[in-house]
Amino acid sequence: MSAAALIVIFAAFGAGALLGTRRRTPAQPDTFLLCAHAFAELEQAADPRTGVERLAQGLTGLADAVVVEVCTPELPPLRGAAHVQTDQNMALAALAQRAGTQRLLPDVPAPRTVRAAELGNELAAQLGAAETVLAPVNTARGQYGTLLLARNAAAVPEAVAAEIALRIALAMENSQLSHDAGLAEAAKSDFLAVMSHELKTPLNIVLGYADLLSIGVPTPLPDAARGHLERLRASARELLARIDEILNFARMDSDAAPPTPVQVNLASLVREIAPSFTTAARSRGLEIDLQLEDDLTLTTDHDRVAQIVFNLMANAIRFTREGKVTVSVKRADRGATVVVRDTGVGIAPEHLEHVFEPFWQVNRTATRTVGGLGLGLSTARKVARSIGGDISVSATVGSGSTFTLFVPERDVLRYENRTGEHEA
């Protein structure tokens, strides 16, 4: 959690020192350090249950006995219980385990100090004659449960208990939010991937039969019918391209697979891709100009670089009505660049930063005439970053845009580090 949160705790301990200096100064640095370690345990745990258990153990330097009870709507209460004395520790942990769905601690609206005996249950006997502080584990969003800190010598200041309880509540909230967000993200990606596949399969069948008719199988069509057929094929291909765009975008979110580095000759890679655009370019009278350094080979993920180059070329051709699209491959410091330059509509300076946002288009009317979903560049940049590279753009309205992909020579360490931080 942030530095700001730590400062809040310091402040809270400071206040505790002022208000609660009864027999002992509670805001000693070791108290702070101890809490910091316990919070770190809570936040770094693989799941909330482990986090709560470790937090309780971590706080046994502050209190003789610690019980955290957190309720979630669908699960039995999560509990962490710990005692400074080993035998008591075991008994307390066993009790926490045994309690099942029964609450051990009452909900409290605000921190309060009570004698353990007042709890009036099995737990009270376990804690003995300790001075006990109860604090609500809650945030503005709701009540999660209760924290108990028991100490024989003197009660833990209520402000300290309140601060610890708040940290637990925030951790619960974070864990719930990130769990929900993760589920939503995964569901979205799965949905898009399944939908795209379900749409592509029949569409490819449509294209297959149309291809047969187009080459005169089983029998040549009259010229007028051929005209209709070619329009049908063009639209089907356009639809297929848009589905692919969605599929690739969805895949970037769900595919956390690390890059597969292989030897890649960038000139050959571009030559493999360029023919995909021959038909589209020819139909608009565009020239595709390849300026390639032939002996440029580096270690990177072939398929990802191919996807980026494909998206950049598709974008260039889509937004260029006359002139040419130039693809050049050049060596660069610790890598190479693939530059895709077009003589198209260009991009206004205020829009440059937005072109990599998903579904973004310069304006809706332009979209109508040009088509596309606005996912290609967003996907391209995400893919570029997944292999340690990036894409930059420069453009002039009316005279064209230049997209520069930097592909780094694979750096083994960097690749390994990146696999863990895929979203970054």
Partner: protein, 152 residues
């Protein structure tokens, strides 16, 4: 054994199409038959293996994602069998990553066509291996570029 050829010319080269999608079978077999090849069809890897051994086709078009015995496994089995090892196998697959091309080579595929493959591409690949059929088709030969496996 289902023989669906054009004409009765026994010189016609035979292609075994192993593919589970009925539409894809119709599309590919139509263009191949139209161009003078005899086409045998199998829906599963198992049926494909049986037909390959019985009919000894001149070439096999093998979809990789097929039921029972998948295309990789079927190809590996055919290539291990001295009776069928010589039959060229072309993998037709939606798996287009580099690793899958490597897999195609490992199991012994002689060619590789990424899916979705338009019918002319499939025809061109078959023609590359078998040459023009003995009974020339009405259409001129189609020259769509193909991907020889060696170049991958």
């Amino acid at each position: 054994m289902r023989l669906e050829g054009v004409g009765a010319d026994m010189e016609n080269k035979t292609v075994l199409l192993v593919e589970d999608s009925p539409d894809t079978r119709i599309i590919y077999s139509t263009i191949l038959q139209h161009n003078g090849y005899t086409v045998l069809q199998a829906e599963t890897g198992e049926e494909g293996l049986r037909l390959a051994r019985e009919a000894m086709p001149d070439l096999i078009l093998m979809n990789v994602s097929i039921p029972l015995v998948d295309g990789w496994k079927a190809t590996a089995l055919l290539k291990r069998d001295p009776h069928t090892a010589h039959i060229p196998v072309i993998a037709v697959t939606a798996f287009t990553r580099k690793t899958d091309k490597r897999k195609a080579r490992e199991v012994g595929c002689d060619g590789y066509i990424p899916k979705p493959a338009d019918p002319t591409r499939v025809l061109a690949e078959v023609q590359r291996f078998l040459g023009m059929p003995s009974m020339p088709p009405a259409q001129p030969p189609l020259t769509t570029p193909t991907t020889p496996l060696e170049a991958i």
